[in-house]
């Protein structure tokens, strides 16, 4: 598989703020890639560099094997973008804006007599009508009368209806209701099935978990994790609760067991002696389970880590580190 987006060691500062601090990002062609990070971690800055709107201080960024800064126009024919905060022209209707973006993406090709002779405004009319219906968008309203969610729908319809290779979606669903969120997810899957590459920046983790083949988690302008969800889960812990018929001998000393909590159940008629609750490193799970069966398992629940936990673990490390750093001052001010 070839890389659709390839970013290495990207740096970008705004004055004294270091927005990107050696960021890496690899997106395979044809995958849906989740781009996760807390607010201000540099997601939008990365996207703006990829779109040639900002110029990186150092590092490399390539999209579809082109340089986003020097080949901007040629590259943008094959890329559609949905910003997180869509602003429209107040006196243009939603339909006009959709067709404008459609022509701006495809107009060059259509004029050169390429494909799609019967297209209305660079967009496939059937696809355009279908998307407008599915997103329940009224295309006759003027820009200033749309709500945030509806402005986002305008941008989403324009992007999904365009004939492009890469879709860059920057928190595209922050204004959508749950029904529309479902329509959005369906559209993303359809786009992936057509072989398009999608970079989805989001902090709605269920959405990412639902849609993405691979994710990159960034923090303070740097990539901290990248891989498939399965890969990432291996790096973290599974929560285990078990009822045992014997004492949990040796469990506490096993490597990979954390936050062990043993409750003595007394003498119960079903033979359960105690209840254990702990976190196990996913790669040590095998040894841990063997130790449990030695003690006699009556019941067992194990919960795989959610993306939330993954995300929070990185984020909380950050918060804790900050707390430690600021701790002394805080006690004084409090």
């Amino acid at each position: 598989m070839t890389k659709a987006i390839s970013v290495a060691g990207l740096h970008k500062s705004f004055g004294t703020t270091h927005a990107l601090d050696g960021l890496d990002l690899e997106v395979e062609a044809g995958e849906v890639h989740g781009f996760l990070g807390p607010n201000g971690s540099g997601k939008s800055t990365t996207i703006r560099v990829l779109l040639g709107l900002l110029r990186a201080d150092s590092g490399t960024a390539r999209m579809l094997d082109m340089d986003p800064w020097t080949d901007a126009v040629e590259l943008h024919r094959r890329v559609a973008y949905v910003p997180g905060d869509v602003t429209l022209w107040r006196n243009l209707s939603g339909g006009e804006v959709i067709d404008l973006y459609g022509r701006l993406h495809d107009g060059g090709r259509a004029r050169r007599g390429g494909r799609g002779g019967g297209r209305a405004g660079g967009l496939d009319p059937a696809r355009r009508a279908d998307l407008i219906e599915r997103f329940e968008l009224d295309p006759t309203k003027k820009g200033r009368t749309y709500s945030k969610g509806n402005r986002q729908k305008v941008a989403l319809v324009a992007a999904f209806a365009s004939d492009v290779d890469v879709l860059i979606l920057d928190e595209p669903t922050s204004g959508l209701d749950p029904l529309m969120e479902e329509v959005f997810q369906k559209c993303v899957r359809e786009e992936r099935d057509r072989g398009r590459t999608i970079l989805l920046s989001s902090h709605i983790l269920s959405e990412v978990e639902e849609l993405c083949d691979r994710v990159s988690i960034i923090r303070k302008g740097r990539t901290v994790e990248s891989g498939t969800l399965a890969d990432l889960r291996h790096l973290t812990r599974t929560s285990v609760t078990a009822e045992l018929t014997g004492p949990p001998n040796g469990l506490a000393s096993l490597p990979g067991v954390h936050e062990l909590d043993v409750q003595d159940a007394g003498v119960r008629h079903d033979g359960v002696r105690c209840k254990v609750r702990f976190q196990a490193d996913s790669d040590k799970l095998n040894a841990v389970l063997r130790s449990l069966t030695d003690s006699g398992v009556r019941s067992l629940t194990s919960t795989p880590p959610t993306l939330e936990e993954l995300f929070l673990r990185h984020y909380q490390d950050d918060v804790r580190a900050d707390d430690r750093a600021d701790g002394s001052e805080e006690t004084v001010t409090r």
């Binding site: 110029r55 869509v86 602003t87 209707s93 959709i98 404008l100 701006l104 209305a120 003027k142």
Partner: protein
């Protein structure tokens, strides 16, 4: 760390009742007013300062040209006798220095106060609602009527300060007259502030509210001009309909008619009340002139077509405005020609306005020059559309589509620079039609102004290209050029300073000799500035 929770003290029943009782429609007005004044802390003092400077500099410059009371009496007599000049400045009620000051500048200072007031009021009412910021503010401890009240109070503060400065600055010419002129100018501002408050309830767009109120100011000027052209004592009904007519009919420095202030007060009260009633009958963000739906599909396909779509209203408005202003100036010039052509004093006035020998030609040249300087405001506003598109984030998705920065900017710049030619030609056409002769010479003279306008446009492109933060500086440059051209000669500012304005280098046409050098040099400068600006724009980060 342990967290201890202390139970919140139960609110006293009385305190709760006091808060629940009454919606307190004016809650938060003080905070909003301070906030409004803080947001206007540059624009307001600058506007007040320039307006006050224009008024306060006049007695000295009048005195330097008309040194003796006898000369001033002749001037007053002649100005009063000519209906074109009455239409321009109003009737002369007194030949004292103060009286001549009120005659020469009163109406124009009133217009400047009116424009400032409408900007302040719309900026803090409709603009806020349109941007959605008002919702956030209204959700706080802010009463239903507080935003409108704060906006009107901000306008009151601005007009009050202006009135105070004019009164204090002219007190040497007669305390009563100075007070009357100061109050008349400030009250005119408040009449249009409350008028803007009504219009802001009617439209959904702040830009439209400003445009409509501006048109109402224009209408007030035309009514007053028509009335004054018909009578020489301001007694025409047309003059009395216009708030600008009230301003002159207060007769500052000429046996003041204080009761005219009651007209201002009644208008402010009635319009203010109407604005509150309308504001109380609508929802936040809504208006009485709702937006109609647009087409479901669009034909726009290029960045250039989009630029035309966004700017065509402005181009049309400026074109019609220039045609009308040109026709009015032309008509006045025709009247000026009827004036005793041999009178030295009159000619001197006209010459001071920037003309050369040959009375009507001098007048026409001054008018052409004035059109050029006003066109500089067009070119700056048109170039800075780029700035507005970028900072509102609307440019971002366009540039993320297959549109290069140069093509995107080019669409707007064609309209800015091409529009300048169109607007100047229509102004010239109006002037020639109103004057009824010299079509070729007048149109040619208007085209000669274009390179100077372009130079300011080029400067705007450069500033914008360097950084979006510098872009508004182009307004200061255009304002400075206008100021130097309009009142610079009267203030006897050194030539080196006057030379800063590109307009100062142009040949005085019609009437003077055409010289190509400044025209070509200014065109080259404009082209170089534009190219440099575009080169910077290509290289810099977009505002995010």
């Amino acid at each position: 760390m342990t967290v201890t929770t202390t139970p919140a003290p139960a609110p006293a029943p009385g305190a709760f009742a006091a808060r629940a009782g009454g919606s307190r429609p004016l809650a938060g007005t003080g905070t909003l007013l301070r906030f409004a004044l803080r947001r206007d802390r540059v624009m307001m003092p600058l506007w007040i300062g320039v307006t006050a400077l224009m008024v306060l500099s006049l007695p000295a410059s009048l005195k330097s040209v008309y040194g003796t009371p006898a000369e001033r009496a002749v001037l007053a007599q002649q100005m009063l006798a000519n209906n074109s000049l009455r239409a321009t400045y109003g009737p002369v009620f007194s030949d004292s220095l103060g009286g001549l000051t009120a005659w020469r500048i009163g109406v124009y200072a009133g217009i400047l106060a009116a424009v400032m007031s409408l900007i302040v009021v719309v900026r803090h009412t409709r603009d806020e609602e349109e941007s959605g910021r008002q919702e956030l503010v209204s959700a706080a401890m802010v009463g239903r009527r507080a935003p409108l009240t704060a906006a009107l109070l901000a306008a009151l503060v601005a007009n009050g300060v202006l009135a105070l400065i004019v009164t204090g600055g002219l007190a040497g010419q007669g305390a009563a007259g100075a007070l009357a002129l100061g109050l008349a100018i400030g009250a005119t501002g408040m009449v249009f502030a409350t008028m803007a408050a009504i219009v802001a309830q009617l439209t959904e767009s702040g830009r439209l509210a400003k445009g409509l109120t501006g048109a109402l100011i224009g209408a007030a000027f035309v009514l007053r001009a028509a009335g004054d052209s018909a009578t020489d004592d301001g007694s025409s009904a047309l003059t009395w309909i216009s708030p600008l007519g009230w301003l002159e009919n207060l007769r500052a420095f000429a046996d003041e008619r204080w009761w005219v202030l009651l007209l201002f007060a009644a208008a402010v009260a009635a319009q203010g009340a109407a604005a509150y009633v309308l504001a109380g009958r609508r929802d936040v963000g809504m208006s009485f002139l709702p937006t109609r739906p647009g087409p479901a599909t669009g034909r726009l396909g290029t960045a250039g077509a989009l630029a035309w779509r966004l700017q065509r209203g402005a181009v049309l408005g400026w074109s019609l405005g220039f045609l009308a202003a040109g026709a009015a100036f032309g008509g006045i010039t025709k009247g000026a020609a009827d004036l005793v052509g041999s009178n030295a004093k009159t000619r001197e006035i006209i010459e001071r306005m920037g003309g050369q020998a040959g009375l009507t030609d001098a007048f026409l040249a001054a008018m052409v020059n004035m059109l050029g300087m006003v066109a500089a405001l067009y070119v700056v506003s048109s170039v800075l559309r780029l700035h507005g598109e970028e900072t509102s984030q609307r440019a971002e998705p366009l540039l993320a589509a297959a549109v290069g920065r140069l093509r995107w900017a080019g669409g707007h710049l064609v309209l800015a620079f091409g529009g300048t030619v169109v607007v100047m030609l229509l102004g010239g056409l109006g002037l020639a039609l109103g004057y009824g002769a010299e079509y070729g010479a007048i149109l040619g003279a208007c085209l000669v102004q274009v390179p100077a306008v372009w130079t300011l446009g080029g400067l705007a492109v450069l500033l914008y290209g360097l950084s979006p933060r510098l872009a508004p500086g182009a307004w200061a440059a255009a304002g400075l050029a206008l100021l130097l051209g309009w009142i610079g000669p009267a203030l006897k500012i050194p030539q080196a300073v006057l030379d800063l304005s590109p307009f100062g280098h142009l040949p005085r046409l019609p009437g003077g000799t055409m010289t190509w050098t400044p025209v070509l040099v200014l065109t080259a400068i404009a082209a170089a500035l534009t190219a440099a600006g575009l080169a910077c724009l290509r290289r810099r980060d977009l505002a995010t």
